[in-house]
Symmetry: C2
Subunit: 223 residues, 2 copies
């Protein structure tokens, strides 16, 4: 089993998070590294989605993962088993990551050769959306059991996300979830957001997500 | 259809939230009113659970509801239709309610004759747990699709809750959810927490929850 480090991250000392976030992105750009900030409610399937993504893309891209969590190491242990370089970030009760905390994670991860780094943010549809982490793009997962009305109730999360993965579509028959209504609710918050229905457990729909990631990484390295 | 008010609540001005929370409880006690703070992740079924609870308990108790949400009125509209006195609290982006905000809601609700008042907190397993709202007790809902490991990852929420409703047990066959593991994880955070498996949609298990509420309200009025 791969090892992973646990890092207790500290509250940021930077007054201007947006400026700090730009500095994080400049560093990533200089190293040719793409960072994706993955957000969602607790239990929507971030870790399962990441696990499957790592298995699919590891043959072609060098991957690394920062797992943010308030307290446990459950997710880092799962991800490290797949062979990607992993660090567990403990936020010490804090409900989000900002750019300074993300940079602490990148420094601790020490994966300067990775092409694609995932930041699995704290499970929370509210606070993480308020802070630019310095990632190249934001993604969020909305799982079918949560309901198609979530973009109405958590507006900022859907405004700031470039891609929305609608996960657990295998259980759609057992829930009152309307995919077209969900698409319309996302579009109301952010008409440019790409919506990709997936089932991370069975792999359904994941090809479109991998293609999106491949294109993003390639464009970031070239630009 | 019953009407409901929408109240834009303001950030609290009180430095000492715990003292303010005690003042909220003293007011409730003086009026013989029981306030329950209901918390959970987005989409775990707070509004459905409340709807069914109102239908069941309305013949015997006078009920009122404060619906906290960042932006929408979806939940208040649903609840008001059932005839309980309802107010929609808009937090203006804030991720939780504290005691001062709860008191603003109680003042706006103006339901001094209600026996049992529910506060549906913002959907978030992190921040709401950090603030005593002044409620008599805290309840949280953990839904089956979120996974049995949530008490490991969101420790404070389960530490502060007196009762944990495990919702959506009707879909348990389609998820890797182990109820005994869930009970053990809750007990690790809070051995005194009562765990009640329910399905708010079908009504399964709800009788135990109603009995808990009945006993709580009666004890609060007598003490």
């Amino acid at each position: 089993m791969e090892e992973y480090r646990v890092l207790e991250i500290k509250q940021s000392v930077f007054a201007d998070n947006d400026r700090e976030a730009d500095a994080v992105r400049e560093g990533l750009k200089a190293r040719g590294q793409y960072l994706l900030n993955l957000m969602s409610s607790p239990g929507s399937g971030k870790t399962t989605t990441l696990s499957r993504t790592i298995e699919a893309l590891a043959p072609e891209l060098k991957l690394a993962v920062m797992e943010a969590d308030i307290d446990s190491d459950v997710d880092a242990a799962t991800i490290a088993r797949l062979g990607a370089k992993t660090i567990q970030l403990h936020t010490g009760g804090m409900c989000h990551l900002d750019a300074g905390m993300c940079q602490q994670g990148l420094d601790g991860l020490a994966a300067s050769d990775a092409d694609l780094i995932f930041l699995e943010n704290v499970g929370n549809l509210v606070c993480p959306a308020e802070f630019d982490t310095g990632a190249c793009k934001n993604a969020c997962i909305l799982s079918v059991p949560e309901g198609d009305d979530k973009p109405l109730k958590y507006p900022l999360m859907f405004q700031v996300c470039d891609v929305v993965l609608v996960n657990k579509i295998d259980v759609a028959p057992y829930f009152d979830f309307d995919l077209e209504k969900c698409r319309a609710n996302v579009a109301m918050r952010n008409p440019k957001a790409r919506v990709i229905p997936i089932c991370a457990k069975t792999g359904e729909g994941m090809g479109e997500w991998y293609d999106w990631l491949r294109a993003e990484v390639a464009a970031w390295k070239q630009a």
